[in-house]
């Protein structure tokens, strides 16, 4: 248990530091690299929670796929990738206040919540996940497939070369 708490502490520092890097980096390109670190840190959190399959999906789809697309989009749209442009708007103080308020509200709710009796650590395996997807959640799974095709076609249609 102590080893787990220690691992959680280390990963938490990594993830939160990388998250702050995402929103505070002046160069948008650095921001994406911080995001990749935060997403890999989240995958480590999933491993701590014994969700190895989700950790693998996280690294493949997020850290691999999403970061690659975002890098392409930055290279296509940012003419000056440099430190010269201010990246934050005038509402930085209001943004900080709103975010802090949201965090305090959520944290207060979490800390005030009644303690449930120590739950039985359910042994979840990837096989459990697969069975759940293809039985109980099969309709949502199929709809998700339709959504993926629709989003792919939509993105292609929007970004296609102009005739």
């Amino acid at each position: 248990m102590t080893a787990e708490a220690l691992g959680l502490g280390g990963v938490a520092v990594l993830v939160l530091g990388a998250s702050l890097g995402v929103v505070l980096a002046r160069n948008l390109f650095h921001s994406v690299l911080w995001l990749a670190l935060a997403l890999v840190g989240t995958a480590a959190l999933f491993v701590l929670l014994h969700a190895e399959f989700l950790a693998a999906v996280q690294v493949l789809l997020y850290a691999g796929g999403v970061v690659t697309i975002v890098v392409f989009a930055i290279m296509l749209t940012e003419r000056l990738v440099g430190d010269t442009i201010r990246q934050t708007n005038r509402g930085i103080l209001a943004g900080a206040v709103v975010s802090a308020a949201v965090f305090l509200a959520v944290a207060g709710t979490i800390l005030r919540a009644p303690r449930a009796p120590a739950p039985a650590a359910t042994a979840l395996t990837t096989a459990t996940l697969g069975r759940a997807i293809l039985t109980e959640w099969v309709l949502a799974f199929e709809v998700l497939g339709i959504l993926l095709v629709a989003a792919l076609l939509g993105a292609l249609y929007l970004a296609r070369a102009e005739e």
Binding site: V70, F72, R86, G95, T122, I133, G154
Partner: protein, 98 residues
């Protein structure tokens, strides 16, 4: 132990919200959204581990897939906006302002 994960996810969510509210570049706003959705996934997986059963895993998987589609469509829109307006600065995208 569960509340430690939930607090971490809440902090991550707040940081992402800060990014969404303060970034000028539309791609930067999308990066903040990524952080917020990622925090939700941490919550779902933590609940699944601490007794909620496989539903948390399934929903986290769905969230990941939906986020990927959101990024694909969002970035396509950003590229179209850049083509038309030559900027992706959200402060200058005020076409709908009355």
């Amino acid at each position: 132990m569960l509340s430690a994960y939930l607090l971490l996810a809440a902090a991550m969510f707040a940081v992402g919200l800060f990014g969404v509210l303060t970034r000028r570049n539309a791609v930067g706003i999308l990066l903040g959204l990524e952080l917020m959705l990622n925090a939700v996934n941490v919550n779902l997986v933590a609940f699944a581990h601490f007794g909620a059963g496989p539903a948390g895993w399934v929903l986290a998987l769905f969230t990941i897939a939906i986020t990927v589609t959101e990024v694909a469509v969002g970035l396509a829109i950003v590229i179209v906006i850049f083509r038309v307006r030559r900027t992706v600065d959200a402060d200058h995208l005020n076409l709908l302002r009355g």
